[in-house]
Protein backbone atom coordinates (compact mmCIF):
# COMPACT_ATOMS: atom_id res chain seq x y z
CA UNK A 1 0.00 0.00 0.00
CA UNK A 2 1.68 3.19 -1.15
CA UNK A 3 1.08 6.74 -0.10
CA UNK A 4 -2.20 8.40 -0.77
CA UNK A 5 -2.38 10.38 -3.99
CA UNK A 6 -5.06 13.01 -4.31
CA UNK A 7 -5.98 14.64 -7.59
CA UNK A 8 -5.61 13.77 -11.22
CA UNK A 9 -2.05 15.02 -11.76
CA UNK A 10 -0.68 13.30 -8.65
CA UNK A 11 -2.17 9.96 -9.72
CA UNK A 12 -1.01 10.38 -13.31
CA UNK A 13 2.54 10.94 -12.08
CA UNK A 14 2.57 8.40 -9.25
CA UNK A 15 0.73 5.52 -10.93
CA UNK A 16 1.62 5.93 -14.58
CA UNK A 17 2.15 2.15 -14.87
CA UNK A 18 -1.37 1.21 -13.76
CA UNK A 19 -3.02 -0.63 -16.69
CA UNK A 20 -6.47 0.87 -16.13
CA UNK A 21 -5.16 4.41 -15.94
CA UNK A 22 -2.99 3.87 -19.01
CA UNK A 23 -5.92 2.44 -20.96
CA UNK A 24 -8.22 5.34 -20.08
CA UNK A 25 -5.56 7.95 -20.91
CA UNK A 26 -4.68 6.41 -24.23
CA UNK A 27 -8.36 6.11 -25.13
CA UNK A 28 -9.64 9.56 -24.20
CA UNK A 29 -7.71 11.69 -21.68
CA UNK A 30 -10.48 14.28 -21.43
CA UNK A 31 -12.95 11.63 -20.18
CA UNK A 32 -10.90 11.32 -16.99
CA UNK A 33 -12.25 14.09 -14.76
CA UNK A 34 -10.45 13.28 -11.54
CA UNK A 35 -8.49 10.51 -9.87
CA UNK A 36 -7.33 9.52 -6.42
CA UNK A 37 -5.44 6.71 -4.72
CA UNK A 38 -6.64 6.40 -1.18
CA UNK A 39 -6.22 3.53 1.32
CA UNK A 40 -4.89 1.29 -1.42
CA UNK A 41 -7.81 1.86 -3.77
CA UNK A 42 -7.60 3.62 -7.11
CA UNK A 43 -10.62 5.72 -8.05
CA UNK A 44 -11.02 7.11 -11.55
CA UNK A 45 -13.76 9.70 -11.96
CA UNK A 46 -15.20 9.50 -15.44
CA UNK A 47 -17.29 12.09 -17.27
CA UNK A 48 -20.96 11.10 -16.90
CA UNK A 49 -21.61 10.72 -20.62
CA UNK A 50 -18.56 8.47 -21.16
CA UNK A 51 -19.09 5.71 -18.61
CA UNK A 52 -20.13 2.95 -21.01
CA UNK A 53 -17.17 3.53 -23.28
CA UNK A 54 -14.88 3.81 -20.25
CA UNK A 55 -16.21 0.52 -18.92
CA UNK A 56 -15.52 -1.14 -22.26
CA UNK A 57 -12.01 0.37 -22.23
CA UNK A 58 -11.02 -0.97 -18.82
CA UNK A 59 -12.63 -4.29 -19.67
CA UNK A 60 -10.39 -4.55 -22.73
CA UNK A 61 -7.40 -3.57 -20.56
CA UNK A 62 -7.80 -6.68 -18.41
CA UNK A 63 -10.27 -5.59 -15.75
CA UNK A 64 -12.54 -8.41 -16.74
CA UNK A 65 -14.98 -8.93 -13.88
CA UNK A 66 -17.62 -6.47 -12.82
CA UNK A 67 -18.01 -6.87 -9.09
CA UNK A 68 -20.31 -4.24 -7.68
CA UNK A 69 -22.05 -0.99 -8.42
CA UNK A 70 -23.94 1.36 -6.18
CA UNK A 71 -24.76 5.00 -5.55
CA UNK A 72 -24.20 7.51 -2.77
CA UNK A 73 -26.56 10.43 -2.25
CA UNK A 74 -24.72 13.63 -1.18
CA UNK A 75 -27.96 15.61 -0.74
CA UNK A 76 -28.14 18.62 -0.47
CA UNK A 77 -24.72 19.09 -2.12
CA UNK A 78 -24.38 19.27 -5.89
CA UNK A 79 -23.58 17.18 -7.89
CA UNK A 80 -25.84 15.09 -5.78
CA UNK A 81 -25.33 11.46 -6.80
CA UNK A 82 -22.11 9.52 -6.90
CA UNK A 83 -22.07 6.20 -8.74
CA UNK A 84 -19.31 3.78 -7.76
CA UNK A 85 -18.45 0.85 -10.01
CA UNK A 86 -16.07 -1.74 -8.57
CA UNK A 87 -14.26 -3.80 -11.13
CA UNK A 88 -11.83 -6.58 -10.35
CA UNK A 89 -9.12 -7.89 -12.61
CA UNK A 90 -8.41 -11.63 -12.52
CA UNK A 91 -5.02 -11.36 -14.28
CA UNK A 92 -3.72 -8.37 -12.27
CA UNK A 93 -5.41 -9.43 -9.02
CA UNK A 94 -6.47 -5.91 -8.22
CA UNK A 95 -9.55 -3.77 -8.14
CA UNK A 96 -10.40 -0.32 -9.45
CA UNK A 97 -13.29 1.97 -8.80
CA UNK A 98 -14.89 4.01 -11.55
CA UNK A 99 -16.87 6.94 -10.32
CA UNK A 100 -19.47 9.11 -11.96
CA UNK A 101 -21.00 12.25 -10.46
CA UNK A 102 -24.57 13.16 -11.42
CA UNK A 103 -26.70 16.21 -10.76
CA UNK A 104 -29.83 15.86 -8.63
CA UNK A 105 -32.25 17.00 -11.31
CA UNK A 106 -33.57 13.97 -13.26
CA UNK A 107 -30.30 12.01 -12.94
CA UNK A 108 -29.63 9.90 -16.00
CA UNK A 109 -26.58 7.91 -17.04
CA UNK A 110 -25.74 5.34 -19.69
CA UNK A 111 -26.28 1.74 -18.65
CA UNK A 112 -23.20 -0.48 -18.66
CA UNK A 113 -25.32 -3.66 -18.91
CA UNK A 114 -24.36 -4.00 -22.61
CA UNK A 115 -20.70 -4.22 -21.48
CA UNK A 116 -21.23 -6.40 -18.41
CA UNK A 117 -24.58 -8.20 -18.20
CA UNK A 118 -23.83 -8.59 -14.48
CA UNK A 119 -24.67 -4.90 -13.97
CA UNK A 120 -28.32 -5.60 -14.84
CA UNK A 121 -29.59 -6.27 -11.30
CA UNK A 122 -27.31 -3.63 -9.80
CA UNK A 123 -28.61 -0.89 -12.06
CA UNK A 124 -32.17 -1.97 -11.37
CA UNK A 125 -31.39 -1.73 -7.67
CA UNK A 126 -29.97 1.79 -8.00
CA UNK A 127 -32.93 2.81 -10.16
CA UNK A 128 -35.30 1.43 -7.54
CA UNK A 129 -33.66 2.82 -4.40
CA UNK A 130 -32.13 6.07 -5.73
CA UNK A 131 -34.27 6.92 -8.74
CA UNK A 132 -31.39 7.19 -11.21
CA UNK A 133 -32.27 6.38 -14.81
CA UNK A 134 -30.08 4.07 -16.87
CA UNK A 135 -30.30 4.70 -20.59
CA UNK A 136 -30.20 1.54 -22.65
CA UNK A 137 -31.01 -0.79 -19.76
CA UNK A 138 -32.90 -3.81 -21.12
CA UNK A 139 -35.36 -4.14 -18.25
CA UNK A 140 -35.46 -1.12 -15.99
CA UNK A 141 -38.03 -2.09 -13.38
CA UNK A 142 -38.08 -1.87 -9.60
CA UNK A 143 -36.35 -4.84 -8.06
CA UNK A 144 -36.66 -4.59 -4.27
CA UNK A 145 -39.71 -2.41 -3.69
CA UNK A 146 -43.19 -3.15 -5.09
CA UNK A 147 -43.79 -1.79 -8.61
CA UNK A 148 -46.26 0.86 -7.37
CA UNK A 149 -44.03 2.20 -4.57
CA UNK A 150 -43.75 5.97 -4.25
CA UNK A 151 -40.29 7.46 -3.71
CA UNK A 152 -36.76 6.09 -3.55
CA UNK A 153 -35.86 4.86 -0.06
CA UNK A 154 -32.07 5.22 -0.11
CA UNK A 155 -32.17 8.92 -0.94
CA UNK A 156 -31.11 11.05 1.98
CA UNK A 157 -34.34 13.07 1.93
CA UNK A 158 -36.37 9.88 2.46
CA UNK A 159 -36.85 9.39 6.21
CA UNK A 160 -35.38 6.24 7.76
CA UNK A 161 -38.71 5.31 9.33
CA UNK A 162 -40.57 5.97 6.04
CA UNK A 163 -43.40 8.38 5.41
CA UNK A 164 -46.30 8.03 7.83
Amino acid sequence: MGDNLMGKTAVMEGMAENPALRAVLSWKPEALVDAKFDRGELTLTIAADQIRAAAATVQAAGYNAFEDMTAVDWHPAEPRFQLSYHIVSHPFKERIRLRVMLGGDAPTVESITPVWPAANFYEREVFDLFGINFEGHPNQRRIMMPDDWQGHPLRKDYPVEGYR
Binding site: D38, R39, G40, E41, T43, N64, A65, F66, E67, D68, T70, V72, D73, S84, H86, V88, H90, K93, E94, R95, R97, W116, P117, A118, A119, N120, F121, Y122, L129, R142, I143, M144, M145, P146, D147, D148, W149, P153, L154, Y158, V160
Partner: protein, 404 residues
Amino acid sequence: MSNPLGMPVLEPASGAHDQHMVLNLGPQHPSMHGVLRLVVEIDGEIVVRLYPEIGYLHTGIEKTCEAKFYHQVVPLTDRIDYLSPMANNLCYALAVERLLELEIPPKAQWLRVLLAELTRLNSHLIWLGTHAMDIGALTVFLYTFREREEILRIFEGLSGQRMMTSYIRIGGLAMEPPLDFIARVQGFIKSFPEKIDEYANLLTGNPIFRNRLQGVGILSAKDAIALGVTGPNMRGSGVDFDLRRDMPYSGYEKFQFKVPIAIEGDCWARYLIRLQEMRESVGIIQQALDGMPEGEIKADAPKIVLPDREKMKTQMEALIHHFKIVTEGFAVPAGEVYQGIESPRGQMGYYVVSDGTAKPYRVHMRNPSFPTLQALETMCKGRMLADVVAVVGSIDIVLGEIDR
Protein backbone atom coordinates in the same frame (compact mmCIF):
# COMPACT_ATOMS: atom_id res chain seq x y z
CA MET B 1 -46.83 -3.79 -16.39
CA SER B 2 -48.31 -4.12 -12.97
CA ASN B 3 -51.57 -5.04 -11.32
CA PRO B 4 -52.81 -3.54 -8.03
CA LEU B 5 -50.67 -5.97 -6.01
CA GLY B 6 -47.57 -4.83 -7.84
CA MET B 7 -47.00 -8.26 -9.32
CA PRO B 8 -46.01 -8.62 -12.95
CA VAL B 9 -48.70 -10.15 -15.14
CA LEU B 10 -48.04 -13.77 -16.00
CA GLU B 11 -48.18 -13.82 -19.76
CA PRO B 12 -46.03 -15.58 -22.30
CA ALA B 13 -43.69 -13.35 -24.26
CA SER B 14 -45.23 -11.92 -27.41
CA GLY B 15 -44.99 -14.18 -30.42
CA ALA B 16 -44.89 -17.28 -28.27
CA HIS B 17 -46.84 -20.35 -29.22
CA ASP B 18 -50.25 -20.94 -27.75
CA GLN B 19 -49.06 -24.04 -25.92
CA HIS B 20 -46.59 -22.04 -23.81
CA MET B 21 -47.57 -21.83 -20.20
CA VAL B 22 -46.33 -19.45 -17.52
CA LEU B 23 -45.77 -21.03 -14.16
CA ASN B 24 -45.13 -19.40 -10.85
CA LEU B 25 -42.59 -21.13 -8.57
CA GLY B 26 -42.52 -19.68 -5.11
CA PRO B 27 -42.24 -17.42 -3.14
CA GLN B 28 -43.61 -20.05 -0.76
CA HIS B 29 -42.20 -23.25 -2.16
CA PRO B 30 -40.09 -25.80 -0.29
CA SER B 31 -37.37 -25.92 -2.94
CA MET B 32 -36.95 -22.16 -3.30
CA HIS B 33 -34.60 -21.72 -0.31
CA GLY B 34 -36.56 -18.96 1.33
CA VAL B 35 -38.78 -16.56 -0.52
CA LEU B 36 -37.51 -16.66 -4.07
CA ARG B 37 -40.19 -16.36 -6.75
CA LEU B 38 -39.39 -17.67 -10.19
CA VAL B 39 -41.63 -16.93 -13.12
CA VAL B 40 -41.04 -19.76 -15.57
CA GLU B 41 -42.39 -19.97 -19.11
CA ILE B 42 -42.55 -23.57 -20.23
CA ASP B 43 -43.23 -25.38 -23.47
CA GLY B 44 -44.43 -28.77 -22.32
CA GLU B 45 -41.79 -29.43 -19.67
CA ILE B 46 -39.00 -27.43 -21.30
CA VAL B 47 -38.06 -24.07 -19.81
CA VAL B 48 -38.26 -21.31 -22.43
CA ARG B 49 -37.86 -18.25 -20.25
CA LEU B 50 -37.23 -17.73 -16.58
CA TYR B 51 -36.91 -14.69 -14.43
CA PRO B 52 -36.50 -14.30 -10.70
CA GLU B 53 -38.73 -11.88 -8.82
CA ILE B 54 -37.03 -10.83 -5.62
CA GLY B 55 -37.59 -8.32 -2.86
CA TYR B 56 -39.93 -10.32 -0.61
CA LEU B 57 -37.33 -10.19 2.14
CA HIS B 58 -36.20 -6.61 1.58
CA THR B 59 -35.69 -5.10 5.02
CA GLY B 60 -33.78 -1.95 4.12
CA ILE B 61 -30.66 -2.90 6.06
CA GLU B 62 -28.54 -0.48 4.00
CA LYS B 63 -30.83 2.39 5.00
CA THR B 64 -30.91 1.30 8.64
CA CYS B 65 -27.10 1.29 8.76
CA GLU B 66 -27.06 5.01 7.99
CA ALA B 67 -28.93 5.73 11.24
CA LYS B 68 -26.66 3.64 13.48
CA PHE B 69 -23.22 4.10 15.02
CA TYR B 70 -20.47 2.05 13.41
CA HIS B 71 -20.58 -0.51 16.22
CA GLN B 72 -24.34 -0.86 16.01
CA VAL B 73 -24.12 -1.99 12.39
CA VAL B 74 -22.36 -5.24 13.36
CA PRO B 75 -25.54 -7.07 14.51
CA LEU B 76 -27.28 -6.00 11.29
CA THR B 77 -24.59 -7.68 9.22
CA ASP B 78 -25.39 -11.03 10.87
CA ARG B 79 -28.90 -10.82 9.57
CA ILE B 80 -27.97 -10.34 5.94
CA ASP B 81 -26.68 -13.83 5.38
CA TYR B 82 -27.97 -15.73 8.37
CA LEU B 83 -26.15 -18.90 7.33
CA SER B 84 -22.68 -17.35 7.40
CA PRO B 85 -22.84 -14.52 9.96
CA MET B 86 -19.10 -14.50 10.69
CA ALA B 87 -18.24 -13.83 7.05
CA ASN B 88 -20.44 -10.73 7.11
CA ASN B 89 -19.06 -9.57 10.47
CA LEU B 90 -15.54 -10.02 9.18
CA CYS B 91 -16.09 -8.17 5.94
CA TYR B 92 -17.70 -5.18 7.66
CA ALA B 93 -15.07 -5.06 10.40
CA LEU B 94 -12.23 -5.17 7.85
CA ALA B 95 -13.79 -2.34 5.85
CA VAL B 96 -14.18 -0.04 8.87
CA GLU B 97 -10.73 -0.94 10.16
CA ARG B 98 -9.25 0.14 6.85
CA LEU B 99 -11.10 3.45 7.10
CA LEU B 100 -9.70 3.88 10.61
CA GLU B 101 -6.29 2.46 9.62
CA LEU B 102 -6.33 0.18 12.65
CA GLU B 103 -3.75 -2.54 13.23
CA ILE B 104 -5.29 -5.83 14.29
CA PRO B 105 -3.23 -8.09 16.59
CA PRO B 106 -2.11 -11.40 15.02
CA LYS B 107 -4.08 -13.59 17.41
CA ALA B 108 -7.31 -11.84 16.45
CA GLN B 109 -6.47 -12.27 12.76
CA TRP B 110 -5.84 -15.99 13.16
CA LEU B 111 -8.99 -16.49 15.17
CA ARG B 112 -10.90 -14.60 12.48
CA VAL B 113 -9.54 -16.91 9.80
CA LEU B 114 -10.44 -19.92 11.92
CA LEU B 115 -13.97 -18.64 12.45
CA ALA B 116 -14.42 -17.68 8.81
CA GLU B 117 -13.54 -21.24 7.83
CA LEU B 118 -15.81 -22.75 10.48
CA THR B 119 -18.55 -20.56 9.04
CA ARG B 120 -17.75 -21.88 5.59
CA LEU B 121 -18.20 -25.43 6.89
CA ASN B 122 -21.44 -24.40 8.57
CA SER B 123 -22.78 -22.86 5.39
CA HIS B 124 -21.64 -25.68 3.10
CA LEU B 125 -23.24 -28.24 5.43
CA ILE B 126 -26.60 -26.53 5.13
CA TRP B 127 -26.15 -26.28 1.39
CA LEU B 128 -25.31 -29.98 1.09
CA GLY B 129 -28.22 -31.06 3.27
CA THR B 130 -30.85 -28.94 1.57
CA HIS B 131 -29.49 -29.57 -1.92
CA ALA B 132 -29.62 -33.33 -1.43
CA MET B 133 -33.08 -32.99 0.06
CA ASP B 134 -34.28 -31.07 -3.01
CA ILE B 135 -33.07 -33.94 -5.17
CA GLY B 136 -34.84 -36.45 -2.93
CA ALA B 137 -32.00 -37.79 -0.77
CA LEU B 138 -33.43 -36.91 2.61
CA THR B 139 -30.96 -38.81 4.79
CA VAL B 140 -27.98 -36.57 4.13
CA PHE B 141 -29.83 -33.64 5.64
CA LEU B 142 -29.97 -35.41 9.02
CA TYR B 143 -26.25 -36.15 8.87
CA THR B 144 -25.12 -32.65 7.90
CA PHE B 145 -27.28 -31.06 10.57
CA ARG B 146 -25.69 -33.38 13.14
CA GLU B 147 -22.28 -31.86 12.34
CA ARG B 148 -23.64 -28.35 11.99
CA GLU B 149 -25.02 -28.65 15.51
CA GLU B 150 -21.50 -29.03 16.88
CA ILE B 151 -20.37 -25.89 14.99
CA LEU B 152 -23.32 -23.97 16.39
CA ARG B 153 -22.45 -25.15 19.90
CA ILE B 154 -18.90 -23.88 19.41
CA PHE B 155 -20.35 -20.53 18.29
CA GLU B 156 -22.66 -20.51 21.29
CA GLY B 157 -19.73 -21.05 23.62
CA LEU B 158 -17.87 -18.19 21.93
CA SER B 159 -20.52 -15.55 21.71
CA GLY B 160 -23.61 -16.78 23.54
CA GLN B 161 -25.46 -16.99 20.24
CA ARG B 162 -25.88 -19.91 17.90
CA MET B 163 -26.58 -18.03 14.69
CA MET B 164 -26.46 -14.24 15.08
CA THR B 165 -23.02 -14.24 16.60
CA SER B 166 -21.86 -10.59 16.18
CA TYR B 167 -18.54 -11.91 17.49
CA ILE B 168 -16.14 -10.21 15.11
CA ARG B 169 -16.12 -6.53 16.04
CA ILE B 170 -14.42 -3.43 14.77
CA GLY B 171 -10.89 -3.61 16.15
CA GLY B 172 -10.83 -7.30 17.00
CA LEU B 173 -13.16 -9.80 18.62
CA ALA B 174 -15.92 -9.37 21.17
CA MET B 175 -14.23 -11.32 23.99
CA GLU B 176 -11.69 -14.03 24.73
CA PRO B 177 -12.80 -17.44 23.52
CA PRO B 178 -13.78 -19.86 26.32
CA LEU B 179 -11.10 -22.15 27.78
CA ASP B 180 -12.36 -25.28 26.05
CA PHE B 181 -12.61 -23.58 22.65
CA ILE B 182 -9.36 -24.87 21.13
CA ALA B 183 -9.98 -28.43 22.34
CA ARG B 184 -13.50 -28.38 21.01
CA VAL B 185 -12.55 -27.12 17.56
CA GLN B 186 -9.70 -29.65 17.48
CA GLY B 187 -12.07 -32.45 18.38
CA PHE B 188 -14.52 -31.37 15.72
CA ILE B 189 -12.07 -31.11 12.84
CA LYS B 190 -10.41 -34.37 13.83
CA SER B 191 -13.60 -36.28 13.19
CA PHE B 192 -14.93 -34.11 10.38
CA PRO B 193 -12.99 -35.52 7.35
CA GLU B 194 -14.59 -38.91 8.08
CA LYS B 195 -17.96 -37.24 8.02
CA ILE B 196 -17.23 -35.76 4.60
CA ASP B 197 -16.37 -39.29 3.43
CA GLU B 198 -19.70 -40.38 4.81
CA TYR B 199 -21.58 -37.78 2.72
CA ALA B 200 -19.54 -38.68 -0.33
CA ASN B 201 -20.38 -42.34 0.21
CA LEU B 202 -24.05 -41.52 0.32
CA LEU B 203 -24.10 -39.17 -2.68
CA THR B 204 -21.10 -39.38 -5.01
CA GLY B 205 -21.70 -42.99 -5.99
CA ASN B 206 -25.47 -42.68 -5.95
CA PRO B 207 -26.67 -43.04 -9.56
CA ILE B 208 -29.95 -41.15 -8.95
CA PHE B 209 -28.14 -38.17 -7.42
CA ARG B 210 -25.52 -38.26 -10.13
CA ASN B 211 -28.02 -38.36 -12.98
CA ARG B 212 -29.94 -35.45 -11.56
CA LEU B 213 -26.79 -33.29 -11.47
CA GLN B 214 -24.42 -34.35 -14.23
CA GLY B 215 -24.73 -32.19 -17.33
CA VAL B 216 -27.47 -30.10 -15.71
CA GLY B 217 -27.31 -26.33 -15.33
CA ILE B 218 -24.20 -25.78 -17.41
CA LEU B 219 -22.56 -22.38 -17.07
CA SER B 220 -19.55 -21.51 -19.21
CA ALA B 221 -16.58 -19.62 -17.79
CA LYS B 222 -17.34 -16.68 -20.07
CA ASP B 223 -20.96 -16.47 -18.91
CA ALA B 224 -19.95 -16.87 -15.28
CA ILE B 225 -17.69 -13.81 -15.43
CA ALA B 226 -20.08 -11.79 -17.58
CA LEU B 227 -23.00 -12.42 -15.23
CA GLY B 228 -21.07 -11.70 -12.05
CA VAL B 229 -21.11 -15.27 -10.71
CA THR B 230 -18.36 -15.78 -8.13
CA GLY B 231 -17.09 -18.27 -5.60
CA PRO B 232 -17.58 -22.03 -5.91
CA ASN B 233 -20.07 -21.52 -8.76
CA MET B 234 -17.48 -19.66 -10.82
CA ARG B 235 -14.71 -22.12 -9.97
CA GLY B 236 -17.01 -24.94 -11.02
CA SER B 237 -16.95 -23.32 -14.47
CA GLY B 238 -13.17 -23.35 -14.61
CA VAL B 239 -12.28 -19.80 -13.52
CA ASP B 240 -9.35 -20.03 -11.13
CA PHE B 241 -9.88 -17.08 -8.81
CA ASP B 242 -10.26 -17.01 -5.06
CA LEU B 243 -9.91 -13.80 -3.04
CA ARG B 244 -8.39 -15.71 -0.12
CA ARG B 245 -5.43 -16.67 -2.29
CA ASP B 246 -5.32 -13.89 -4.92
CA MET B 247 -6.14 -10.78 -2.89
CA PRO B 248 -5.54 -11.98 0.68
CA TYR B 249 -7.04 -10.28 3.72
CA SER B 250 -6.87 -10.89 7.47
CA GLY B 251 -3.65 -12.88 7.18
CA TYR B 252 -4.80 -15.52 4.67
CA GLU B 253 -1.47 -15.16 2.88
CA LYS B 254 0.12 -17.10 5.76
CA PHE B 255 -1.99 -20.20 5.18
CA GLN B 256 -1.47 -23.00 2.67
CA PHE B 257 -4.50 -24.33 0.89
CA LYS B 258 -5.60 -25.45 -2.55
CA VAL B 259 -8.36 -23.82 -4.53
CA PRO B 260 -10.42 -26.59 -6.12
CA ILE B 261 -11.35 -26.09 -9.77
CA ALA B 262 -13.56 -27.99 -12.18
CA ILE B 263 -14.18 -27.24 -15.83
CA GLU B 264 -17.52 -28.90 -16.47
CA GLY B 265 -19.63 -26.03 -15.12
CA ASP B 266 -22.56 -28.25 -14.24
CA CYS B 267 -24.30 -28.91 -10.94
CA TRP B 268 -22.11 -31.96 -10.40
CA ALA B 269 -18.92 -29.88 -10.66
CA ARG B 270 -20.29 -27.40 -8.14
CA TYR B 271 -21.13 -30.28 -5.80
CA LEU B 272 -17.62 -31.76 -6.03
CA ILE B 273 -15.99 -28.37 -5.54
CA ARG B 274 -17.88 -27.61 -2.36
CA LEU B 275 -17.06 -31.04 -0.93
CA GLN B 276 -13.39 -30.39 -1.71
CA GLU B 277 -13.60 -26.89 -0.21
CA MET B 278 -14.81 -28.39 3.05
CA ARG B 279 -11.69 -30.57 3.16
CA GLU B 280 -9.48 -27.54 2.47
CA SER B 281 -11.24 -25.56 5.20
CA VAL B 282 -10.45 -28.31 7.68
CA GLY B 283 -6.79 -27.94 6.69
CA ILE B 284 -6.88 -24.16 7.20
CA ILE B 285 -8.51 -24.56 10.63
CA GLN B 286 -5.80 -27.05 11.61
CA GLN B 287 -3.07 -24.60 10.56
CA ALA B 288 -4.78 -21.82 12.51
CA LEU B 289 -4.94 -24.03 15.62
CA ASP B 290 -1.33 -25.16 15.30
CA GLY B 291 0.14 -21.72 14.73
CA MET B 292 -2.15 -19.65 16.94
CA PRO B 293 -0.06 -16.71 18.18
CA GLU B 294 -0.20 -15.43 21.72
CA GLY B 295 -1.38 -11.96 22.54
CA GLU B 296 -4.31 -9.64 22.56
CA ILE B 297 -7.56 -10.18 20.68
CA LYS B 298 -8.39 -6.48 20.44
CA ALA B 299 -6.53 -3.60 18.87
CA ASP B 300 -4.94 -1.05 21.19
CA ALA B 301 -7.41 1.74 20.47
CA PRO B 302 -9.31 2.64 23.64
CA LYS B 303 -11.47 5.23 21.91
CA ILE B 304 -12.76 2.65 19.40
CA VAL B 305 -12.69 -0.76 21.04
CA LEU B 306 -14.95 -1.38 24.03
CA PRO B 307 -12.94 -2.13 27.19
CA ASP B 308 -13.17 -5.46 29.03
CA ARG B 309 -15.82 -5.60 31.76
CA GLU B 310 -13.12 -6.17 34.36
CA LYS B 311 -11.23 -3.00 33.37
CA MET B 312 -14.42 -1.03 33.08
CA LYS B 313 -15.31 -1.77 36.68
CA THR B 314 -11.88 -1.00 38.09
CA GLN B 315 -10.44 1.81 35.97
CA MET B 316 -11.84 5.30 35.62
CA GLU B 317 -10.42 5.79 32.09
CA ALA B 318 -11.96 2.59 30.81
CA LEU B 319 -15.34 3.55 32.22
CA ILE B 320 -15.21 6.94 30.48
CA HIS B 321 -14.24 5.35 27.17
CA HIS B 322 -17.01 2.80 27.51
CA PHE B 323 -19.56 5.51 28.19
CA LYS B 324 -18.34 7.62 25.27
CA ILE B 325 -18.30 4.75 22.77
CA VAL B 326 -21.78 3.58 23.73
CA THR B 327 -23.43 7.01 23.82
CA GLU B 328 -21.63 8.90 21.04
CA GLY B 329 -19.85 6.26 19.01
CA PHE B 330 -16.55 7.28 17.47
CA ALA B 331 -15.76 9.48 14.49
CA VAL B 332 -14.32 7.75 11.44
CA PRO B 333 -12.11 9.75 9.03
CA ALA B 334 -13.88 10.72 5.83
CA GLY B 335 -13.26 8.43 2.89
CA GLU B 336 -14.53 5.36 1.12
CA VAL B 337 -13.42 1.76 1.25
CA TYR B 338 -14.46 -1.35 -0.62
CA GLN B 339 -13.41 -4.51 1.18
CA GLY B 340 -13.87 -7.82 -0.56
CA ILE B 341 -13.66 -11.24 1.06
CA GLU B 342 -14.35 -14.77 -0.09
CA SER B 343 -17.55 -15.76 1.66
CA PRO B 344 -18.89 -19.34 1.46
CA ARG B 345 -20.99 -18.27 -1.52
CA GLY B 346 -18.46 -16.18 -3.39
CA GLN B 347 -17.03 -12.69 -3.41
CA MET B 348 -18.62 -10.58 -0.76
CA GLY B 349 -17.86 -6.89 -0.53
CA TYR B 350 -18.70 -4.09 1.85
CA TYR B 351 -18.53 -0.56 0.51
CA VAL B 352 -18.44 1.87 3.42
CA VAL B 353 -18.47 5.63 2.87
CA SER B 354 -17.69 7.91 5.80
CA ASP B 355 -18.28 11.65 6.00
CA GLY B 356 -16.19 11.99 9.16
CA THR B 357 -19.03 11.56 11.67
CA ALA B 358 -19.87 8.69 14.03
CA LYS B 359 -22.43 7.16 11.71
CA PRO B 360 -21.64 5.58 8.34
CA TYR B 361 -22.78 7.81 5.48
CA ARG B 362 -23.45 4.82 3.28
CA VAL B 363 -22.99 1.09 3.68
CA HIS B 364 -23.48 -1.08 0.63
CA MET B 365 -23.16 -4.84 0.62
CA ARG B 366 -22.13 -6.75 -2.44
CA ASN B 367 -23.49 -10.17 -1.73
CA PRO B 368 -22.56 -13.10 -3.94
CA SER B 369 -26.06 -14.59 -4.23
CA PHE B 370 -27.52 -11.46 -5.83
CA PRO B 371 -25.61 -11.54 -9.15
CA THR B 372 -25.61 -15.35 -9.16
CA LEU B 373 -29.37 -15.22 -9.56
CA GLN B 374 -28.90 -13.45 -12.90
CA ALA B 375 -27.25 -16.57 -14.28
CA LEU B 376 -30.22 -18.78 -13.43
CA GLU B 377 -31.93 -18.31 -16.77
CA THR B 378 -28.76 -19.18 -18.69
CA MET B 379 -28.38 -22.35 -16.66
CA CYS B 380 -32.00 -23.48 -16.89
CA LYS B 381 -32.99 -22.57 -20.45
CA GLY B 382 -33.80 -25.55 -22.62
CA ARG B 383 -33.82 -27.94 -19.68
CA MET B 384 -36.71 -29.69 -17.97
CA LEU B 385 -38.66 -27.88 -15.28
CA ALA B 386 -37.52 -30.42 -12.68
CA ASP B 387 -33.92 -29.40 -13.37
CA VAL B 388 -34.68 -25.87 -12.16
CA VAL B 389 -34.94 -27.28 -8.64
CA ALA B 390 -31.58 -29.01 -8.97
CA VAL B 391 -29.93 -25.83 -10.33
CA VAL B 392 -31.39 -23.54 -7.65
CA GLY B 393 -30.09 -25.96 -5.04
CA SER B 394 -26.64 -26.19 -6.60
CA ILE B 395 -25.92 -22.45 -6.78
CA ASP B 396 -26.41 -22.13 -3.00
CA ILE B 397 -28.33 -18.90 -2.64
CA VAL B 398 -29.56 -17.26 0.53
CA LEU B 399 -32.46 -14.89 0.09
CA GLY B 400 -31.53 -12.81 3.10
CA GLU B 401 -28.43 -11.54 1.34
CA ILE B 402 -30.15 -11.11 -2.01
CA ASP B 403 -32.85 -8.79 -0.68
CA ARG B 404 -31.02 -7.26 2.30
